[in-house]
């Protein structure tokens, strides 16, 4: 399937899943499940930084409209897209990434995925709760919400990948 078509379908699915399903479920303990960062993570390796940031911004704005947060999701997703090439470079193999592979759990292995996506998700969630609460006397609350939400979101993203993503044929 064409890369553009595939990712457009994914964009739509992730926006709908996040705004109509996961935004509505509330587990307590300050957990806020966010799975849409997985879309930015799964874009192909050779995607340019400008495309990444534009897509993140647009996706964030759409989810903002659905959840009455007016630019909060856009801001945090944008930061994550900005950090993606930096962290990819840090954990990348010396000869560069194989362009035929996808940055998913199945193509790159669980250790790589745990570190790269874990860091990106941590940055995204921390920025989100920092801007949302924005009070330094409640810093512990920010940390608590970030840690709990990152763990739950990460597990959800692994489950979602097994449904949505197939292993690339060339391995």
């Amino acid at each position: 399937m064409n890369v553009v078509v595939k990712n457009s379908i994914r964009f739509f699915i992730f926006v709908m899943i996040q705004s109509l399903v996961f935004n509505q479920i509330e587990l307590g303990f300050g957990i806020h499940m966010m799975v849409h960062p997985l879309f930015i993570m799964l874009l192909p390796f050779e995607t340019g930084i400008f495309t990444l940031m534009t897509l993140a911004f647009v996706m964030g704005l759409i989810i903002d409209i659905f959840s009455n947060t007016y630019g909060l999701h856009a801001s945090s997703l944008l930061l994550m897209a900005y950090m993606r090439p930096v962290i990819f470079k840090f954990y990348g193999p010396r000869e560069g990434y194989d362009p035929l592979k996808e940055p998913s759990l199945f193509d790159m292995g669980s250790r790589w995925f745990l570190f790269v996506f874990g860091y990106l998700l941590l940055i995204h969630h921390f920025w989100y709760f920092l801007v949302e609460i924005f009070r330094f006397d409640q810093f512990l609350l920010i940390i608590q919400k970030t840690v709990f939400s990152v763990i739950i979101s990460f597990l959800l993203c692994i489950v979602l990948q097994t449904f949505l993503i197939k292993k690339s044929k060339s391995k």
Binding site: S19, L20, N23, Q24, E26, L27, G28, G30, I31, H32, I49, F50, M53, F57, G60, L61, D64, I65, F66, S67, N68, T69, Y70, G71, L72, A74, S75, L78, L79, Y82, V131, E132, I133, Q138, L141
Partner: protein
């Protein structure tokens, strides 16, 4: 000039990032204080439609519980019907009531989108200015106060609930009649707090908290919750009064919007106060 171009070229990624980031953050901060339009919120028609379809599916999960709540309210109202009253005076005269004038009207609506775990929680309801809803009207349910209308479109509106940072509904503690403002600290959706109550007065646990009705948004005496704890604030002669809300906002579905028919009169009269004196007044 060449240096400038070289500068832009070198930092173009960061500049692009910074511009978008500043745009989204300013959008966020501006919307929190005053919403200018409804296109970027759940009050817009397209998003409202989506959420209504979603709500059509999920509303049945709480159906039996809601039916019982509505039935209870019906019983209360039925008690007040003329059929259920025993007539004492035998001469039947229809009286045009001039002692009482209708001040509040209620518009029913149902919640189609809600959240309780964020720092600022907004509900979307399926009634808009076509049903006569305007900004700054009060919203309540059969158990207690819900919030204030924040943003209105043709068929939908967004409610700023009591679970937000600066809701500031004026409330009073029932038997003693102390006034204060309702706040929420963002941690627990069951508990809020009242500020501005001086700590030389003892407050009994489980005394009722009701609306004061001073700003004309809510009628006087609408339930808010009960006092469940009082803690002294360090360095200030004030109590931090913790309130247990009487409404469970996590499973709220049916609400009413309050239309105050005399609000324009009150606003016009209060508008005549010079601005520096208005600050000292409690709303």
């Amino acid at each position: 000039m060449r240096n400038l171009i070289a500068f832009f070229r070198r930092f173009r990624v960061f500049l692009f990032f910074a511009v978008l980031q500043i745009f989204s953050l300013s959008l966020y901060i501006r919307y929190l204080s005053f919403p200018k339009n409804q296109y970027l919120t759940t009050a817009s028609v397209v998003v409202g439609k989506f959420l209504e379809v979603e709500n059509d599916v999920t509303k049945h999960f709480n159906l039996s519980k809601n039916n019982i709540a509505l039935q209870k309210e019906n019983v209360e109202l039925r008690k007040k019907l003329p059929q259920s009253l025993y007539k004492i005076g035998r001469t039947l005269v229809k009286i045009e009531d001039t002692l009482y004038k209708q001040q509040y009207e209620y518009i029913p609506a149902s919640v189609i989108n809600s959240s309780v775990s964020r720092r600022n929680n907004y509900f979307t309801i399926n009634a808009g200015y076509k049903q006569g809803i305007k900004r700054d009207m009060g919203v309540f349910s059969d158990k207690g106060v819900v919030g204030i209308i924040h943003n209105v479109s043709e068929h939908y509106s967004v409610v700023k609930t009591v679970l937000t940072k600066d809701i500031n509904i004026d409330v009073m503690i029932e038997p003693i009649g102390l006034f204060g403002f309702l706040k929420w600290d963002g941690k627990n959706a069951k508990k809020g707090s009242i500020t501005g109550i001086s700590n030389d007065i003892r407050i009994k646990k489980w005394s009722k908290v009701i609306t004061k009705g001073g700003s004309g948004i809510f009628p006087k005496g609408m339930p808010v919750g009960k006092v469940c704890d009082t803690e002294p604030i360090e360095g200030e002669p004030l109590w931090d009064v913790v309130v247990l809300f009487s409404e469970d906002y996590r499973s709220l579905q049916q609400v009413y919007v309050i239309k105050n028919l005399l609000i324009d009169e009150q606003k016009a009269l209060e508008g005549q106060i010079p601005p520096d004196e208005e600050d000292e007044d409690l709303q």
